[in-house]
């Protein structure tokens, strides 16, 4: 199956007019910021990549278990969107969340320890790969139910609205979630109540093994979202700079009171749905095609062209990351396991006796 | 086909426990016969070899029909091996094992004499020698509860036994008892010389399973009530708290059997049956008793009708001051463990047995046209069965048993009666019968004599009444004693003597 053709530039789709109070979107570091910034973006994407590749090794070696859903190929989305968020904002994610968690700034050691089920993990070892939570960075998981996080994001945004706070709740979900009732209920409710949600749909063309065209009668997801009355547009998810630009544009609008916005981030996962998946439903040729649009390679090439990337920078970054990873794994391996006698903790909140 | 009850006309052969060629001895159980009332074990009154089994299993034949032929042999002298194998200790009365095995001393001696080779002399040895044969045979073929052909052993030279073992059980039997959690000390041995057979152990285990609520069980344990003796009024005959409390209130464990007689007393006395007991539908509890209960009812009906038709009854009544007896009882019980405490009924039974010895004209049978004294005082006790029905087995030589022993025998009788495992001799040997001991709150009981006996003794409930003692008015526990007697055999004077004897005996409880 040949890859779908993508528009070269993001096509902004405006729906019904946003509230009069909406300001002009503010673009930072246009177009793409400084070299240092781009190097930073490269590093962030590489961090995710190396982490995920390590997970493959560890999983195959039987050191981490359960379901592991890898973000390889989609790094530009997490990194790019995160650029638009402030520490005050909130993130709700899915089971394919390692990238979001790391981009958000949850320490690698905490994420790795969580994969190892140690108490030093960001969810105390209780959640595992699919349930990463971090109160400090307002990272609200980690949800294994497709579409399950959208109502949550709507609620968090509701609070901000009722409290008059200008915070954004970024809600990540995949193309599969568009099929769930929650998706429609939430987009409707968010628009109806003008809630500050940034809906980020990571459209990687497959809901587990089901191709988008087989699940959606109308595959233009941004159009679908727009029909609920919110500004929605599609973005080249393999281009981190494009993602960043679009995300800043949308987030600023949301933050400014412009109501919920929707980004369809068109991307692709290079690996199967999860570590269990034999990936039989995709054409190898298609995968190769998309690999040629590797976001990390793409940015690196662009930077090299512009003379921004010294020969050994990448290697240095890699070495750095390797060190960091090794350290995280060591710490995770040695991390404490919660005693079985504490099994029934965290079912109810602790009470005063 | 023996007559196992005065009214029995026919019986059905249920099981042969021996086969042609088997050596049997007097007292051995050789067959099981089903009557209207229950399944009865038939014992042989002869020693010898089984020649042929005439009546096949399942056939119903009239009383008197030949069931099997036996070639009689004399009681054999000690076999060569046995006497030398020399358990001199076993013969001695002083040996605990021997005494236990023989239980009633009277029985022990004849058993020793008659049983010859397997006499006390080679008791354990012979038993052990024979045991493998007996044990081997039933293994895998008999379900628990069936009786093994206990004594169908070929003449084997008794091998010297291992280290001294109690006479009354073998290692195999002890092992089985251990497995089933049965306390051998509490098991009644039906083997020769009172040895405990495997069947006895299995029966003891089975009969302990009483259907009772958890609360009733706990309460019974706390109050020292033997659950097996309590009549249950719950669903499916389950024993419930109220039943246990009632049982406890009427006295300690063993004495519960007599109280469980209201149907008999009621039927016998022509009083309105106690709704709880006599009215109980035959469906309660026991599998397969519905039909039996019905036929048992009919059997009782026939018997009672016959009694009233044929026997000219007269009645005598006396009220007995139980003050002395009760306080003696209290004192005595204080020093005893719960399980060994006596109940008033034990004293009443004992007094009756002794009185029957003193007034032998009331202890025996009415023959064609004259009185036949009984060979001993075999006290019949009326036992009500779960599911309705009544049975009156005998306690042999009741006048020779101390009250505690009487209680134990009674308890055993009740267990076996309810399990349908009475012996034919128990069914036929009563020389005088005692009915309802007043548990249901009836003050006096006047009964119907069980032919061919000539007397029926009744006791009411022990109640507190105003009483004159030495000219002063006080409250005393008293019991109403009654006698229904056959006027053909005795007259009121004799009856009065009898009741007076009971009254006097009860004033000296320490001598009972």
């Amino acid at each position: 199956m040949s890859p779908r053709r993508r528009p070269a530039a993001p096509a902004a789709r405006q729906a019904a007019s946003p509230p009069a109070a909406a300001r002009q979107p503010v673009m930072h570091n246009e177009p793409g910021g400084s070299a240092a910034h781009r190097t930073d973006l490269l590093r962030q994407m590489l961090l995710i990549r190396r982490f995920e590749e390590k997970c493959v090794e560890l999983y195959s070696a039987g050191e981490i278990h359960g379901f592991v859903h890898l973000y390889i190929g989609e790094e530009a989305v997490a990194v790019g969107v995160n650029q638009a968020l402030t520490p005050d904002d909130a993130i709700v994610s899915t089971y394919r969340e390692h990238g979001h968690a790391l981009a958000r700034g949850i320490p690698m050691t905490a994420v790795m320890a969580e994969m190892y089920g140690r108490t030093t993990g960001c969810s105390g070892g209780r959640g595992g790969s699919m349930h990463l939570f971090d109160a400090q960075t307002r990272f609200y998981g980690g949800n294994a139910i497709v579409g399950g996080g959208l109502p949550l994001a709507v609620g968090i945004a509701l609070t901000d609205r009722m409290r008059g706070r200008s915070r954004v709740t970024a809600c990540f979900f995949g193309d599969g979630a568009v099929a769930e009732g929650e998706f429609h209920e939430c987009l409707n409710l968010a628009t109806l109540w003008q809630l500050p949600v940034l809906f980020c749909c990571e459209n990687n063309l497959y809901a587990m093994g089901t191709a988008l065209a087989r699940a959606q009668a109308q595959t233009d997801l941004a159009v679908r979202a727009a029909s609920y009355g919110m500004p929605a547009w599609a973005v080249d998810g393999m281009d981190v700079l494009a993602v960043e630009q679009a995300a800043r544009h949308a987030a600023d609008a949301v933050r400014g009171g412009g109501g919920p916005h929707f980004l369809e981030l068109r991307t692709y996962r290079f690996r199967a749905h999860s570590m269990y998946d034999p990936d039989r439903y995709r054409d190898k040729a298609e995968v190769e095609e998309w690999k040629r649009r590797d976001p990390i390679d793409a940015l690196a090439a662009r930077m090299r062209e512009a003379g921004e990337l010294a020969g050994d920078t990448l290697a240095a970054i890699d070495a750095d990351l390797t060190g960091e990873l090794t350290d995280a794994i060591d710490k995770a391996r040695g991390g404490p396991l919660e005693p079985v006698s504490d099994l029934t903790r965290f079912v109810y909140s602790p009470r005063q006796p | 086909m023996p007559a196992l009850g005065a009214d029995m006309e026919q019986g059905t052969l249920v099981e042969w426990l021996v086969k042609p060629g088997d050596q049997i001895h007097k007292g051995d159980i050789i067959a099981v016969v089903d009557t209207d009332k229950s399944a009865i074990e038939v014992e042989s009154f002869h020693t010898g070899t089984v020649e042929a089994l005439i009546t096949p299993v399942g056939e119903t034949v009239p009383v008197g029909t030949v069931l099997a032929t036996i070639t009689e042999t004399e009681a054999e002298p000690a076999r060569p091996g046995a006497a030398e194998a020399g358990r001199p200790g076993a013969v001695e009365a002083g040996r605990p094992g021997a005494v236990e095995a023989g239980v009633p001393a009277a029985m022990g001696a004849p058993a020793a004499a008659a049983a010859g080779p397997a006499a006390m002399g080679a008791g354990p040895a012979a038993v052990e020698a024979g045991r493998p044969a007996a044990a081997g045979a039933p293994k895998g073929k008999r379900a628990p509860g069936k009786r093994a052909p206990g004594r169908a052993r070929p003449g084997r030279t008794p091998a010297p036994a291992g280290p001294a073992a109690p006479v009354h059980s073998t290692p195999l039997v002890r092992h089985e008892a251990g497995q089933l959690g049965v306390d051998l000390a509490a098991v009644h041995g039906t083997g020769r010389g009172g040895t405990i057979t495997r069947a006895d152990v299995e029966y003891a285990a089975a009969s302990r399973r009483v259907r009772a609520t958890p609360l009733a069980r706990r309460l019974a344990a706390e109050l020292g009530v033997d659950l097996g003796t309590v009549t249950g009024t719950g669903t499916g005959g389950a024993v419930r708290e109220a039943d246990v409390r009632r049982a406890a209130a009427a006295g300690a464990p063993a004495a519960q059997q007599p109280p469980a007689q209201p149907p008999a007393a009621a039927a016998a006395a022509g009083q309105a049956p106690h709704a709880g007991e006599a009215g109980r539908p035959a469906t309660a509890g026991r599998a397969g008793t519905a039909g039996r209960a019905e036929s048992m009812r009919q059997a009782i009906a026939r018997l009672m009708a016959r009694s009233k038709r044929e026997i000219p009854h007269y009645y005598v009544t006396n009220t007995v001051d139980m003050g002395t007896a009760m306080s003696w009882l209290r004192e005595r019980n204080r020093r005893l463990e719960v399980s060994q405490r006596l109940v008033p009924a034990a004293l009443l039974l004992r007094a009756t047995a002794l009185a029957a010895r003193q007034v032998p004209e009331l202890n025996g049978y009415w023959g064609e046209d004259h009185f036949v004294p009984g060979p001993a005082v075999h006290l019949g006790v009326a036992i009500s069965l779960r599911g309705g029905g009544l049975i009156t087995p005998a306690i042999h030589h009741a006048d020779d048993l101390a009250p505690g022993e009487l209680m134990a025998k009674l308890r055993d009788l009740v267990n076996r009666a309810r399990a349908g495992r009475l012996r034919s001799s128990e069914m036929t040997d009563a020389t005088i019968t005692v009915t309802n001991l007043g548990d249901q709150g009836v003050e006096s009981v006047t009964g119907v004599i069980y032919p061919p006996q000539v007397a029926l003794v009744g006791f009411g409930k022990i109640v507190e009444r105003p009483w004159a003692v030495n000219g002063l008015l006080g409250i005393r526990p008293v019991v109403v004693t009654t006698l229904a007697a056959d006027h053909r055999a005795t007259d009121g004077y004799t009856g009065g003597r009898f009741l007076t004897a009971i009254a006097q005996l009860l004033q000296r409880p320490e001598e009972l």
Binding site: C122, D134, Y140, A144, P151, L152, M162, E185 | P214, E241
Partner: protein, 329 residues
């Protein structure tokens, strides 16, 4: 808004007073659900509240159970104290994923970082001939889920007082209000306030048998006790009040005294809350039982429409009386 006469009120009014009081006392509290605002509430519980508190705090939602229950979860996480009203337990099935996989589970999945102080109110039960899809009593199902607290107010005091305590709870609390109770009238003390949501209560003491129930069937159990008294059977009636966690102590103490138990539960018998209580009695009071534990539950049938069939399907006083008789023997 309140009933006529000093202290005289109804269950519905008591619940309304509770909501109102909570909203006045804590501006984090708001009510969200279908038709709670302009309609005044499907069962008129929130009548007048929109006028008093405005549309921000009395929020009408679209028919999107999953979304607005989830939103309630999110809002609770975010720092608000939402009361989400699901019109009836029948519709809660549409939000079951949010309730089970988010509300009950977030605290655990996050290793204790995020608790969900959400209150969900639902109407439950049958009896008004509203047929198979509108007559469920599923509170027993919800008691299966660790992480939730489940309560069933059956009296005016509890209708008035449980809500505040529930709102103060850091974990999700589901309040089940039996539809037949809203019109229940009575007298409430003027200072009636918050009550605990931890304990069962003996509504009528007795000695011979314990009748255990909750919510809409409490009235029937009390009626049954009255009838039994006429037969010299003194029944003790326990109102469970909290269905998760169950107050074992009160139940067992009672059964140890009476030795017999009858559990009345409007849920279907199989896998019911009554089955759970029965199992617990067996585990904890076995040696005190003088009869098997009886259960009086709904018949195993989707609720039929015609009145006589519906009545036959539901636990009724004669059946409770009969069960008690069986137990007492």
């Amino acid at each position: 808004m309140t009933g006529s006469g000093p202290g005289k009120t109804t269950y519905r009014e008591a619940m309304r007073a509770a909501i109102r009081e909570a909203m006045l006392a804590d501006e984090r509290v708001f009510l969200m659900g279908e038709d709670v605002g302009r309609y005044g509430g499907c069962f008129a519980v929130s009548l007048g509240l929109l006028e008093e508190f405005g549309p921000e705090r009395i929020r009408d939602t679209p028919l999107s159970e999953s979304a607005f229950v989830g939103a309630g979860i999110g809002a609770a996480i975010g720092g608000m104290r939402p009361i989400v009203e699901i019109m009836t337990v029948n519709f809660s099935l549409l939000a079951l994923d949010q309730i089970m996989n988010n509300a009950a589970t977030l605290l655990h999945m996050s290793g204790g970082q995020f608790s969900v102080p959400l209150v969900i109110r639902m109407t439950t039960g049958a009896g008004r001939q509203v047929a198979a899809q509108h007559s469920h009593s599923l509170e027993g199902w919800y008691t299966h889920i660790p992480g939730l607290r489940i309560v069933a107010p059956a009296t005016l005091e509890d209708a008035r007082g449980m809500l505040w305590t529930a709102l103060a709870d850091p974990d999700p609390v589901l309040i089940f209000e039996h539809g037949s109770l809203y019109n229940m009238a009575g007298v409430l003390a003027p200072d009636a306030g918050a009550v605990d949501i931890d304990s069962a209560v003996i509504r009528r003491p007795g000695t011979d048998v314990t009748l255990i129930t909750y919510g809409g069937t409490l009235g029937k159990a009390l009626d049954a006790a009255e009838a039994l008294a006429g037969e010299q059977i003194q029944a003790e009636v326990i109102d469970l009040r909290t269905l998760r966690p169950l107050d074992d102590e009160t139940v067992m103490a009672s059964v140890r005294r009476t030795h017999r138990a009858v559990i009345v539960d409007e849920g279907w018998r199989s896998g019911s809350l009554a089955a759970e209580v029965s199992a617990r009695i067996m585990e904890q009071a076995f040696y005190d039982l003088d009869a098997p534990v009886e259960r009086v539950c709904s018949a195993e049938v989707p609720m039929p429409y015609p009145r006589h069939l519906e009545e036959a399907a539901l636990p009724q006083v004669p059946a409770i009386v009969e069960a008690a008789r069986q137990a007492v023997g």
